[in-house]
Amino acid sequence: MSSDGTLRTIIETRKVDKRFGTFHALKDVSATFYEGQVTAIVGPSGSGKSTFLRTLNRLETHDSGEIVIDGIVLNDNLKNLDAIRREVGMVFQSFNLFSHLSILRNVALAPMRVRKMSREAAESKALNLLERVGLKNQAAKYPVQLSGGQQQRVAIARALAMDPKVLLFDEPTSALDPEMVNEVLAVMRELAYSGITMLVVTHEMGFAREVADRIIFFDEGVILEDTTPESFFSNPDHDRAKAFLSQVRHGF
């Protein structure tokens, strides 16, 4: 939120459509996201929520419609794509740390290659970020030596190293053992309060309720609900959302 209280648009999607063969993954999805906002994207598996997130930095290409990120249109233009990918960080379900590089190099690689920082500057920045996620003492290790929760915190540090305007989280805790979920959520909570724009695809309803400013509920490729956490969790408009909530609550 800017100082005068108005919201600045950072991501805008208009009628974004995507098919995988005969499967209609996204059906004319339009949504606007504002700077500093934390949005939780929830919904059943196969509802299109991850696909939607992945179209935002073109890990999936959309078939039709328009995506504008920080004023740049996302299309086949490689310059635009490079510019967008510099501003949009992503954290994956399976961490995807570079397995052949040390933790420090994992975080320092993109600033060195993309921002052309010197190795010393990139590594000192990486150390600061690792300290922020509580893993400075693991800098010399390799990803395989870390627990899942630690790897995901490194992945968050790696994304932050590019100073992104937006962070996309694609089910960041779904591949973790239950006892490691909280350490990752704690880092994400701290980030959310620091004012960075976040889009989080998640099944962690407790986290969504506590941290998100906004909940988007996907079902069968459309946004069925787009509302505040309070109204979504206490009184969803659609039966599909009610059914979904009663299903996920079963797990608690």
């Binding site: 995807n96 052949h100 040390s102 993109a110 390799y142 395989v144």
Partner: protein
């Protein structure tokens, strides 16, 4: 070997120094041996140096060809794919001896006037093309073994396709491809003996000449075999150490 795993740097260093000492020092002890070995000691050493020269040149060129053609086989541009497929098909489907003879006898008539290739160069070209084709398949398998998430993570961070390949895909694929590449290199040490057919005086040719003069094939061929064994041991120690070096961050 265990110590190559524990001290890969030292093992590589030792293998290289050992190889150099052997190539330039072996004439001294061999000269002390009784006839027919002793008088021909310098010939043995010369032959071994030619064999190692062919192996190093064709081995290096073969890796470069393997990486380029391996990438070409995975290209989305079909003429390039077709070209690389045909290359591998042609080389793997014909005898190495024929390829060596072809380069030696056919190239001079194709080459522009004024360019003359030595016998050694002809052998090096044919061996490079031959091992390159086998390496192509190893490199391709290695590239395919890199999880797609690694590429997605690199692209999402803003690395260009070339940076993604050089910094992430190539090092990781080499970890997978190296044992197979090392296998090809060990074959190459011995396959280089076929260069005798175009009158390159490499190790096997030396042996053939010495036994023809002395009528004592048994000691001569045992000496040649021992020299080959020492050479292949040096090369496999080198590649095993390189493998250990690249193996960092890997699950055991």
């Amino acid at each position: 070997m265990n110590w190559t795993r524990q001290y890969p740097g030292w093992a590589m260093f030792a293998a290289m120094i050992g190889l150099l000492l052997f190539l330039w020092g072996m004439a001294v002890p061999l000269a002390a041996a009784p006839a027919p070995i002793g008088p021909a000691a310098e010939q043995f050493a010369d032959g071994a140096r030619i064999t190692v020269g062919l192996t190093l040149i064709a081995g290096t060129a073969g890796v470069l060809i393997g990486v380029l053609a391996g990438l070409g086989k995975l290209s989305s541009f079909w003429p390039l794919r077709w070209l690389c497929d045909s290359y591998v098909w042609l080389i793997r489907g014909t005898p190495l001896l024929l390829q060596i003879l072809f380069v030696w006898l056919a190239f001079p008539s194709i080459m522009p006037e004024g360019i003359e290739l030595s016998d050694f160069a002809c052998a090096a070209i044919a061996l490079s093309l031959n091992i390159g084709a086998y390496n192509t398949e190893c490199v391709r398998a290695g590239i395919l073994a890199v999880p797609h998430g690694q590429v997605e993570a690199a692209r999402a961070l803003g690395l260009t396709p070339l940076q993604t390949f050089m910094d992430v895909v190539l090092p990781q694929s080499m970890r997978v491809a190296l044992p197979a590449l090392a296998n090809n290199l060990a074959s190459l040490v011995k396959d280089s003996s076929l260069a005798y057919a175009i009158s390159v005086v490499e190790l096997t040719m030396v042996g053939y000449r010495v036994q023809a003069e002395s009528y004592q094939p048994i000691p001569v061929f045992i000496t040649i075999a021992a020299i080959y064994l020492i050479l292949t041991t040096a090369f496999t120690t080198l590649t095993a150490a390189l493998e250990a070096q690249l193996d960092v961050g890997q699950k055991r």
